[in-house]
């Protein structure tokens, strides 16, 4: 039952399908084709080429956790899947990839020709699961340049599935692979494997898994030794040499650190100063507050009497229609766009995995590994966006640690701009160093505590380092746009909900009561004037509102008071939108813990700082 429903039967009358072959009786008329492979082998390029849509094409392993799907003109359902080295449910990505593979009628296994020994393990595992397959041997140009010779007919015979050479980035061989979907075959399983339909389940058991993995590895190495040859016939170009040399330098702890600091400074300059300052100044102040918001309010005025509570909820200072539009399009959109451009460039040139290696030692002390560097950097842009990005982490445990650290200790760019200004007032360099040092200590203590308290153990880093290359404009543009779009689609409803909540609170005067209620805390414990309570409440709505609130009264409070309030407002609850995202990603219990924990921590540390300074 190797051959499956043809595209013709898939699109025709279902009755005809039932009559045509008994093997399609229980199947839906539509065929499901799943792309599977190791991280960073080019699956997404295939997906994009076949679907005409764009998944993330990245030079950073582990970027696909959601499964992009597309329905092709002939009715075939095409699915991408996260890159994994094997399928045993050991991480969320593996579970997702396994689910996708089990749903497949046909699997296109994308294999990197330069790392056959590694890649064919997954290939053989899929074969052992009894799925009809086609193998696309990708990056053949690279293999040739490195002097690797692969005996394709022999590989095909040994695996028992069609093997086709491709260079996906140059669009070579993609059509040939597509043409062979229908000829996908169930391959030759590893000798002594249990029946195909039991393989996936049996490999969940650690003892069985080791046994089957051992047999499979043995089998694959035997195959590779028969089809693979390394010759001296390598093309050494200057570009390749330079990429290797720079790759080595970036991993040198000192040079690597210097480069990382340079990258962070330029990130700050681009995002913190140009985008968060100049560009947002234009989009929020000039465009939104100057034209769009007044226009919305004008339209509202025609339908709703100005004095009614509804007018306040929809069009007031925190109005659902006004503030969420102002925030989403005036602030968030330029900020997230700018950040993703930056991250996409870093990612496309292959820098991020090297940064992950540099940070792995430090991050493993707080129960994370090098991969967490991506969400943590994104957090400097927008904590909401970063919380979504924790999906790339291997375990739930790591995701909990990362999202808690993000919510509590990482100031987002909307806030950093205002903090910068305030710190200048509080005494420049000394205040800066105190601020960074205090946050650093809290991050370290919090991370270590979570690592100790949470059950289980965090996973160790395993990451292939892709070769460095010049970032490609098209890739960067596509990636940036796709990410920005999907983030806004995900976050916008949450922002609207959040602002609705605040608008209701304000319209009915509850916001004032909260401020009054907080006053004893601010005055007696934090040694701050009573009005700071207002800034703290505003900080819940938007972190930069909070910081901006402080800015307004910076003239009449002391430098130490500024520092105290800055620390409180940074540690203080994540903004409403990121709390909503944490809720969505991590659940109610974790959100409540994070919110209450951050309140306690913010006021406890703030009080201590007020007394020490």
């Amino acid at each position: 039952m190797a051959a499956l429903a043809t595209p013709a039967s898939a699109s025709s009358d279902p009755m005809a399908v039932e009559l045509s072959s008994d093997s399609t009786l229980t199947q839906p008329a539509k065929q499901t084709v799943v792309l599977a492979g190791n991280p960073n082998v080019g699956k997404s390029v295939f997906f994009n080429a076949y679907s005409g849509r764009y998944a993330n094409v990245s030079n950073f392993p582990g970027t696909t956790v959601d499964i992009p799907k597309a329905t092709l003109p002939d009715g075939t359902l095409l699915m991408d899947s996260p890159g994994v080295y094997g399928l045993s449910g050991m991480s969320e990505e593996e579970q997702v990839a396994e689910r996708a593979a089990l749903q497949a009628d046909v699997i296109i296994n994308v294999v990197c020709a330069t790392t056959l020994t590694r890649d064919l393990f997954l290939t053989q595992q899929l074969i052992d699961m009894g799925k009809p397959m086609v193998v696309a041997l990708n990056q053949m140009d690279d293999a040739t340049a490195r002097g690797l010779v692969i005996d394709l007919p022999k590989l095909e015979a040994l695996l028992g599935v069609p093997v086709l050479p491709t260079v996906a980035t140059a669009n070579q061989g993609l059509d040939a692979v597509k043409a062979r979907w229908q000829l996908a075959q169930v391959g030759n399983p590893t000798p002594d494997m249990p029946p195909a339909d039991q393989v996936a389940a049996l490999e969940k058991d650690p003892g069985q898994r080791m046994l089957m993995y051992g047999q499979r590895r043995h089998h694959i190495n035997a195959i590779v030794s028969q089809v693979f040859q390394q010759t001296d016939n390598t093309a050494k170009t200057f570009g390749k040499w330079a990429a290797d040399a720079i790759g080595q330098w970036l991993l040198n702890p000192w040079i690597g650190l210097l480069v990382a600091v340079g990258v962070l400074i330029s990130l700050y300059q681009v995002i913190g100063v140009w985008v968060a300052g100049d560009l947002v100044g234009l989009t929020e102040e000039t465009i939104m507050l100057g034209y769009v918001i007044p226009a919305i309010q004008q339209v509202l005025d025609q339908f709703i009497p100005h004095s009614s509570p509804l007018a306040g909820i929809l069009g007031g200072e925190f109005g659902t229609l006004t503030m969420s539009v102002q925030y989403i399009f005036g602030v968030l959109f330029p900020l997230v766009l700018g950040f993703y451009v930056y991250i996409s460039i870093l990612e496309d040139c292959g820098y991020l995995p090297r940064l992950a290696v540099l940070c792995d030692g430090a991050l493993s002390k707080i129960g994370l590994n090098g991969r967490a560097v991506i969400p943590l950097i994104l957090g400097l842009g927008c904590v909401t966006m970063a919380t979504v990005a924790t999906r790339v982490l291997t375990s739930q445990r790591e995701r909990t640690i990362a999202s808690t650290i993000l919510a509590i200790t990482i100031p987002c760019s909307a806030q950093i701009g205002v903090i910068m200004g305030l710190i200048a007032l509080a005494g420049g360099l000394k205040a800066w160093l105190s601020f960074v040092a205090i946050l650093g200590v809290i991050l370290a203590v919090l991370g270590t505590a979570l690592d100790r308290l949470l059950p289980g153990k965090s996973s160790s880093l395993v990451m292939a380092l892709p070769p460095l290359r010049r970032p490609q404009l098209k890739n960067v543009a596509i990636k940036t746009w796709m990410r920005t779009k999907s983030f806004l689609f995900e976050a916008a409803p949450l922002f609207v909900l959040g602002s609705l909540l605040v608008a209701v609170l304000q319209t009915f005067g509850w916001l004032e009561s909260i401020q009054l209620w907080l006053m004893p805390l601010t005055k007696t414990w934090l040694h701050l004037p009573a009005e700071t309570a207002r800034a703290f409440v505003m900080g819940m709505v938007r972190r930069d509102f909070g910081a901006a609130g402080l800015y307004m009264m910076a003239d009449h409070i002391s430098p130490n008071q500024i520092l105290t309030s800055l620390i409180v407002i940074t540690l203080f609850v994540p903004c409403i939108a990121s709390a909503a995202v944490i809720w969505k990603e991590r659940g109610a219990i974790e959100t409540t813990t994070v919110v209450l924990g951050s309140w306690g921590l913010a006021f406890a540390i703030g009080g201590l700082v007020a007394r020490i300074l």
């Binding site: 080295y85 002594d192 030794s225 702890p253 290696v357 792995d360 030692g361």
Partner: protein, 110 residues
Amino acid sequence: MAAHTALSPKEMGVSDVGSLVAPAVPPTVDRSGPALVRALSACRSGELVEVIGVDQGEASVMALRMGLVAGEVITVLNRQPGGPMVIRQANAELALGQNLCRAILVKSKL
């Protein structure tokens, strides 16, 4: 079938596989002895080493997937303060966290 299943998982994963892929070196020629066997984490940057086994459950699953099995010759490209190492295995560079490096046993090649 019987021959395979009779072996313990570790033997399956490590020794058995190595004897097949590695150039056939009779055990008697191996004069380095157990004294030179150490964890990958103890290796210096630039060293050429041969994997002889993996010491720990989760690490061995990873090692089997990546092909880091007995007989595999790897170069240590880089070691970071605080743990992770970068190795070159065949044509690929691979970063491994400290816990994995501690579990991978190697001996010097050359």
